[in-house]
């Protein structure tokens, strides 16, 4: 025993001469330096180029492009269209989202769990796929629903999806999930004694709803409407798929047009991007202030679940109405895409004669762009998710485990992309990386950077949340037990965080797999993705192959989402289990 102790102390003596704390600081400083450098290069530097570009640099220096962004008739029309779109989507999504949220959260509506899941499905379907589905459903003449209407004796095509209304409708069918989930959460946490006391005073149910419940969750509703509106502005897909054929132009599609011109009009695109980013940032700022200041929702400490109102005879009729509304946003688009994917000709009836697997072999093998797109999308999404989670983890670690100066700046830079629509990010990256010193435009790397930057906020939030759940003493105990810093990270920290990090990884992977709005401006021949293949093939009118690609994409997204749900549920259960001990 004595000998062993002696040996131990000799180890201590031997090590004393090494300046170990300095080494430790150097590792962390290197991490911080690398993080700051990466974020500055990939976020800060491109944003500078956005401003330079808007001023006409490097060819000239002038404010005329910024002035033109607000004065040229084409730009003014795009701005007006965008404003109307945001307003329309904000309104539509509240009108749809909030009543459904009340019905699923606070009544004994049949199938309410199913409806809740379907709203989630509507949100995870990439909106450009919903657009294609609605071309199949409501395209003039050939659309399923239009033919159904014509069959009842109405002449002509009563509903044309290629219209401003069509764009707003399809986008609302996607983003109404935002006010829905916000209102749902708020409604569940409303203290029901507030409602009951109104009933005691003699208020009828309708009076109670409009005078008590709705004002209580008003911040969630307005916040949701604003978020939905901000979201709608950035959604390039529906604006391009449904707006461009009707020559209705919005800010993102206008920017797309400026870059698609020959020669590309970088200055105009940058100036319009600045307008777009200003609108987004102001919207987010207002939403933050509004939600932050006026929160009336009282979370009951007694954990009493709010009572479910009995709908009585209205139960089933209401369920039917909600089924139609929610179904139109989720099951209907999914069903028509899958049906078209297995059809020889999508306009023909879905019969045995019309069934085929040829579209899948075209999408997966024969069609070069599609096959390449699938491979590229998977490679990019996997690489982007891994990189983003690693960077997010480093930032979260510096933020929570060190007192390094500058860690706040890092956190702030990482959240910045929340205010950058994909189109804007692409315009910025394009100008920064088309020239010396990092000329990577035209390679797959610029797409990877775009995906990593877009997912930085989710990755940092995810890693931050995961690290917060791990008490620092677990790492300290490992250090005292003799593990080095790196061994502690590898054997203690990462294994404990594994399921939460996988969750963050999936949350980045899912949107990256189908990313369109930045990709469409950054891809070149050879770096096409699934979304680009869908965009180009639908331009060529090959809707069946497009539907097959969409089916593959949706299948993967759904699988990944189910995995996410399962992981999230498991980590919640683990936390509860820990709390009960």
């Amino acid at each position: 025993m004595r000998a062993a102790t002696h040996a131990g102390i000799r180890d201590v003596q031997g090590a004393v001469s090494e300046a170990s704390i300095v080494v430790r600081d150097a590792t962390r400083a290197a991490m911080l330096g690398l993080g700051v450098a990466a974020l500055l290069l990939f976020i800060g530097y491109p944003l500078c180029w956005l401003v330079f570009g808007a001023l006409g640099l490097p060819a000239q220096f002038s404010v005329k492009f910024l002035v033109r962004a607000f004065t040229q008739p084409g730009n003014v029309a795009a701005l007006a269209n965008t404003a109307v779109l945001a307003l329309g989507v904000g309104l539509l999504s509240v009108v749809l989202g909030v009543p459904v949220a009340w019905a699923t959260a606070r009544t004994d509506l049949p199938l309410r769990k199913v409806f809740h899941g379907l709203v989630g499905l509507a949100y995870i379907l990439p909106p450009y796929l919903t657009s294609i589905a609605y071309i199949i459903l409501l395209g003039p003449n050939a659309g399923y629903l239009n033919r159904l209407i014509a069959w009842t004796g109405v002449h002509g095509s009563p509903v044309n999806i290629f219209s401003a209304g069509g764009v707003a409708f399809v986008i609302a069918m996607h983003v109404y999930a935002v006010p829905y989930f916000l209102a749902y959460g708020a409604l569940q946490s409303v203290d029901h004694s507030l409602e009951e006391s109104a009933r005691m005073l003699g208020a009828r149910r309708w009076t109670m709803l409009t005078r008590i419940t709705l004002p209580l969750i008003a911040p969630a509703i307005t916040g949701g409407a604003l978020l939905a509106a901000i979201n709608s502005i950035a959604l390039f897909g529906p604006q391009a798929f449904l707006g461009l054929p009707a020559q209705i132009v919005y800010l993102p599609t206008r920017i797309y047009g400026a870059l698609g011109a020959y020669p590309p009009r970088f200055a105009d695109a940058s100036a319009l991007s600045i307008v777009l980013v200003l609108v987004t940032v102001i919207g987010l700022f207002v939403q933050r202030r509004y939600l932050g200041r006026r929160s009336f929702v009282t979370v009951g400490g007694r954990g009493a679940r709010p009572a479910h109102h009995a709908l009585g005879a209205l139960r089933w009729p209401l369920a039917l109405v909600i089924l139609v509304a929610v179904g139109l946003s989720s099951i209907a688009p999914l069903a028509v895409l899958v049906a078209a994917a297995f059809s020889k000709v999508w306009t023909n009836a879905f019969t045995v004669n019309n069934l085929t697997l040829a579209n899948f072999s075209a999408a997966l093998v024969d069609n070069q762009i599609a096959a390449r797109g699938i491979v590229n999308s998977f490679k990019l999404a996997i690489a982007a998710a891994t990189l983003a989670v690693l960077i997010g983890l480093a930032i979260a670690y510096l933020d929570l485990r060190t007192q390094m100066r500058g860690r706040r700046l890092l956190d702030y830079l990482a959240i910045l992309p929340l205010g950058l629509p994909g189109t804007v990010l692409a315009v910025a990256l394009l100008q920064a990386f088309i020239r010396f010193p990092v000329a990577i435009y035209g390679t797959v790397w610029i797409l990877l950077i775009a995906y990593v930057v877009r997912s930085m906020p989710i990755a940092v939030r995810g890693a931050n949340g995961a690290l917060r759940q791990v008490d620092a003493s677990l790492e300290e105990a490992a250090r005292v037990a003799g593990a080095s810093w790196l061994t502690t990270i590898r054997r203690i920290l990462l294994p404990i965080m594994r399921s939460n990090l996988t969750l963050a990884w999936l949350l980045v992977f899912i949107p990256a797999l189908g990313e369109l709005s930045a990709t469409i401006l950054l891809y070149t021949n050879g770096t096409e993705t699934i979304s680009v293949a869908i965009f180009r093939l639908s331009d060529l009118g090959q809707l069946e192959v497009v539907a097959a690609l969409a089916t593959v994409l949706i299948a993967v997204i759904l699988l990944a989402t189910l995995l996410t749900q399962w992981l999230a549920g498991r980590s919640r259960r683990a936390v509860t289990a820990e709390a009960t001990i």
Binding site: M1, R2, A4, T5, G8, I9, D11, V12, Q13, A15, V16, A19, S20, I21, V22, R24, D471, S473, L474, E476, A477, A478, R479, V480, A481, G482, A483, S484, W485, T487, R491, I492, P495, I496, R498, A577, E578, I581
Partner: protein, 188 residues
């Protein structure tokens, strides 16, 4: 033998002095308990001793070798210490056996020796047969004893605890007395 010598030790958090001008000597085979109201710096002192924090002034030496000073801190993994944390800090992704064995596997001790030493440590704290459980499946008292076994299994020359009851259990006191070891406890 292990002689701990603390001279003029100070640690501040923002404007607050956690430890200020502390002088303390702990001899070989001594059992020292730090007493005081909460927030008086007991845990901070032990964290400084373990190398988990950097002092703002003063120094800590073990057997005449400086291990902590403001510009130079020997990292905790090189100090050959044992520590029981107030929260026990048991790793939830490892079994009880793996928790206790962790420090030994890092020292590249042979598999059979790890097995016997972990079994011995678990027997000592009265947890024989519970090695395959996960820490979450144990009671609070059992968790505490796992933490104790984990801190003693590597036969450290210094053992400290920020948890009062852990270090004052008879098995720990015996273990400290029977080996050449300094024990420091800072009751939570």
């Amino acid at each position: 033998m292990a002689h701990i010598s603390i001279r003029g030790l100070a640690k501040r958090f923002d404007a607050q002095n956690a430890v200020h001008a502390l002088d303390l000597d702990i001899g070989n085979r001594e059992f020292v308990t730090l007493l005081g109201p909460s927030g008086c710096g007991k845990t901070t002192t032990l964290r400084l001793l373990a190398g988990l924090a950097t002092p703002d002034a003063g120094e800590i030496s073990i057997d005449g070798h400086v291990v902590s000073s403001p510009g130079h801190v020997l990292p905790p993994e090189r100090r050959q210490m044992g520590m029981v944390f107030q929260s026990y800090a048991l790793w939830p992704h490892m079994s009880v056996f793996e928790n206790v064995a962790f420090g030994l596997t890092l020292k590249r001790v042979s598999r059979s020796e790890v097995r016997t030493r972990v079994q011995h440590a678990l027997d000592m704290v009265g947890l024989e047969g519970l090695g395959e459980r996960t820490p979450n499946a144990l009671s609070g008292g059992q968790q505490q004893r796992v933490a104790l076994a984990r801190s003693l299994v590597t036969e450290p020359s210094i053992c400290c605890s920020t948890s009062r009851s852990a270090i004052s259990t008879p098995s720990c006191a015996n273990e400290c007395a029977s080996s050449s070891r300094s024990c420091t406890a800072a009751p939570g």
